[in-house]
Amino acid sequence: MLACDYLVCTQASFPFCSLFVIHKYDTTNLTPGIIYNIWDTSLLKKMEISVAEAEKRTGKNAVNMQETYTVYLIETRPVDAASEGTNPALDSLWRRYSEFELLRNYLLVTYPFAVVPPLPEKRAEFVWHKLSADNMDPDFVERRRVGLENFLLRVASHPVLSSDKIFYLFLTEENGWKETVFETGFQAKADSRLKALNATFRVKNPDKRFAEMKHYGDELQSVISQLLRVRARAADRLYGVYKVHGNYGRVFSEWSAIEKEMGDGLQSAGHHMDAYAASVDDILEEEEHYADQLKEYLFYADALRYMCRKHELTQYELEMAVQDLTSKKQQQEELATGTIRTFSLKGMTSKLFGQETPEQREAKLKMLETQIEEGEEQVKERNAECDEFVKSAWVDIERFKEQKDHDLRESLISYAIMQISMCKKGIQVWNNAKECFNKM
């Protein structure tokens, strides 16, 4: 299944987390200094999770307008190894897509070092002709249901994310969950982070591994997009090939009406041609699942890139703090020795209009000292932050890599199995048709 690691929880990680989460609830049951076996805390060990159904609802939205939307039924059941015989009760609640989005945004902000599993797409993309781009279309809703379930299972089996209390409440508390999430204050952090991430900044010493990862994320996104596009077009064409054969069915049937000896053979061959034409619907529906698996990793690529960007931000902030400290130290030195090495307006004016009084200089030195102390603390903190981030992120990246390699290999295998099934159906139909033709 998934590679698992031991997450070493040290004192350092919690101040880091606490920068982003204001604990109203004790959202972590992890105490520092203890090493945890992740599997013990993986939520999937404790409960079965599924997104069982989807339903249409209508209601008034934020601007008091009537809207139709879809809700999904999340079912959970505690896994109690002791009570194998009894069937424990099923808990369930309804959530809509926007709530899933909220959960994911919360996780993104709260666990910046994690590769957060993606949601199924908001709008249908890479559609080919017969597929509907309509969000209300039953096929789309069904595929989304599967995608949402997949998302929950991914989060529930993630070594760190699965222990999150907000996630647990998402699965178990229907009412008031939204308020609870907002109360964590993650939104404010999200906004400031977002602004920072969108700004352009240059890192002086980029971490080579993260740069490579980001590049990989770019390539993965580009190539999977291309693959999805090409596959959709090919599916469209294949659909056409199969459906045209349905015309054979019709014409054979009409022709058989005017023939004596050939009639039976033609008629039955026609039925097989109809069957052939109809078989493409199932074939392409299965292929759509394969496309969905690829899409998940397309979106994962985005999560990877996002994480690399966050790392760059932490690195940048560290560099800024160091730069700030260095400049303050320099100012201190200059003031103490009286030499001006750096240009400053104050320095110039004091040169022009006379030196400041020894009291003023003393006050300034004192201020600088405090600032330098604070600055050094700041640098230490940010250094630790960076280190923690890199350590935790790299753990999650390794976990993600193994998961990706495993999953995509499975997908390719399932694609091959689909092709084989399609070929077998084709062989059967045409062998049947051949027998009928022989009777012509």
């Binding site: 002709h129 990989y216 090409v230 090939v241 019709r250 495993h406 091959a416 070929c423 048709a433 033709f437």
Partner: protein, 432 residues
């Protein structure tokens, strides 16, 4: 001759990258197909009333001979058409084909012959056979080829398709109980080019042909009064058959077009997987493998499309032309009957020249009886041949489809196998 336009190059035509026509689950309305091809009808204007001088035996004995002979398995003549060559003269450029004959028939001077013939010569032969036997069914020739004013006669594919059709044409003639003993056929197979040219110049002169044509038109305009039921049924069948076979032709052409477009898209899949493999480590091998599989399936699809174009379409095409031939044959029969009816009426009404008229009437009656019997037995024969041809064409197509899927199946199974041995080697995945 109608100046019709035939486009033999099956293009992927009007389908752009945009959303194709909606055919989901519905029957195609083929009549609106813009790429519809119009077939030129190479029906010679010979009518039924000219009695070819090369007919050597009396009508009565001919009737007996027209009874369908069952011993078609003892083939004593083999004809092949191959080796197209281009000839350039001051006036024109044209293609000739080598026609080789091997036979044990006594009426041939030798047992092997080799001559070169051009399309015009085939046309001549067909015309002669139709003139001599107006109510027998002559297998169609491939059409003349004119594409929007530009003559594409020297395109390799076109020449090959035509060669095959000419080969089938001569073999059908050779297999026909009456046609194969035609003097014109023998000359076609054996005469040197010069001999053939001089022989062509014989036969009914221009003026007599003109006179016959006028008579034919008159008879056609007059129409037949008492057509026997069986010929009416034949006509109804031919109408329906013509429609069905045309539809099948169109459907098959459409399938080829769709498959070609599918192939175009599929060709991009393999390279995309290969590109992906370059960014991966663990996944590189399976991705490259999949790329290879997709490429191999592409090749198989390409061959499949070619087979359909080369095997099934020409046969269907020929039977579309056959349907037109049948219609012409029925028309000619009708004209012979119309002529007889006219002469019968004339005898009843006119008083003068009764002896000549009676003579004429007797001849006309004989001609009609002969024509009807000829058509009836050739009709039975034609149906058998049509059944065999179309059956084997469809069986062949089905077999090729099976073979195509079997090959693709093997490709993907080898991929699965490679992943299996890989996985078991690494102790990773459980395939149960």
């Amino acid at each position: 001759m109608s100046g019709s336009v035939v486009d033999n190059t099956v293009s992927s035509g009007n389908s752009s990258a945009a959303i194709p026509t909606d055919i989901s689950g519905q029957i195609l309305d083929l009549d609106e197909d813009d790429d519809l091809e119009v077939f030129s009808k190479d029906t010679t204007l010979t009518d039924g009333s000219s009695f070819n001088a090369s007919m050597q035996t009396s009508p009565a004995s001919m009737i007996n001979q027209y009874k369908f002979e069952e011993d078609a398995d003892t083939k004593d003549i083999f004809v092949t058409v191959d080796n197209p060559e281009s000839h350039v003269t001051a006036i024109e450029t044209y293609i000739t084909y080598r026609v080789m004959t091997k036979t044990t028939r006594s009426e041939f001077d030798s047992s092997e012959f080799e001559v070169r013939r051009r399309y015009q010569d085939f046309l001549w032969l067909k015309g002669r056979l139709e003139e001599a036997h107006p109510t027998l069914i002559v297998h169609p020739l491939p059409e003349k080829f004119v594409v929007k004013g530009m003559v594409e006669r020297f395109n390799e594919d076109f020449i090959e398709t035509r060669r095959r059709a000419l080969h089938r044409f001569l073999n059908k003639i050779a297999e026909h109980p009456i046609f194969s003993s035609s003097e014109d056929f023998k000359i076609f197979l054996t005469a040197a080019s010069g001999e053939l040219t001089s022989h062509k110049k014989q036969g009914p002169g221009f003026l007599s042909r003109m006179g016959d044509t006028v008579k034919a038109v008159a008879a056609a305009v007059r129409g037949v009064r008492n057509r026997p039921q069986e010929f009416t049924e034949m006509q109804e069948y031919v109408e329906a058959f013509s429609q069905k076979i045309s539809s099948l032709d169109k459907v098959t052409q459409r399938i080829v077009r769709e498959q070609k477009e599918y192939l175009e898209e599929l060709k991009e899949c393999g390279p995309t997987y290969a590109l992906w493999s370059q960014s991966e480590e663990e996944l590189a091998e399976p991705l490259k493998n999949v790329a290879g599989c997709v490429d191999r399936c592409c090749k198989e699809t390409e061959e499949q499309v070619k087979n359909l174009s080369d095997q099934l379409i020409p046969v269907l095409h020929e039977y579309v032309l056959c349907a037109d031939t049948l219609k012409a044959v029925l028309r000619r029969r009708d004209n012979i009957q119309a002529d007889f009816e006219a002469k019968t009426e004339a005898l009843a009404t006119k008083k003068a020249d009764r002896d000549t008229m009676r003579d004429d009437l007797d001849k006309a009656e004989d001609r009609l009886e002969w024509a009807n019997n000829a058509l009836k037995s050739d009709w039975t024969r034609w149906q058998k041949v049509m059944r065999t041809d179309l059956r084997s064409a469809f069986v062949d197509t089905a077999e090729r489809n099976v073979s195509y899927y079997e090959k693709c199946l093997a490709v993907w199974e080898s991929f699965l196998h490679s992943q299996r041995t890989d996985a078991e080697g690494n102790g990773k995945v459980d395939f149960s």
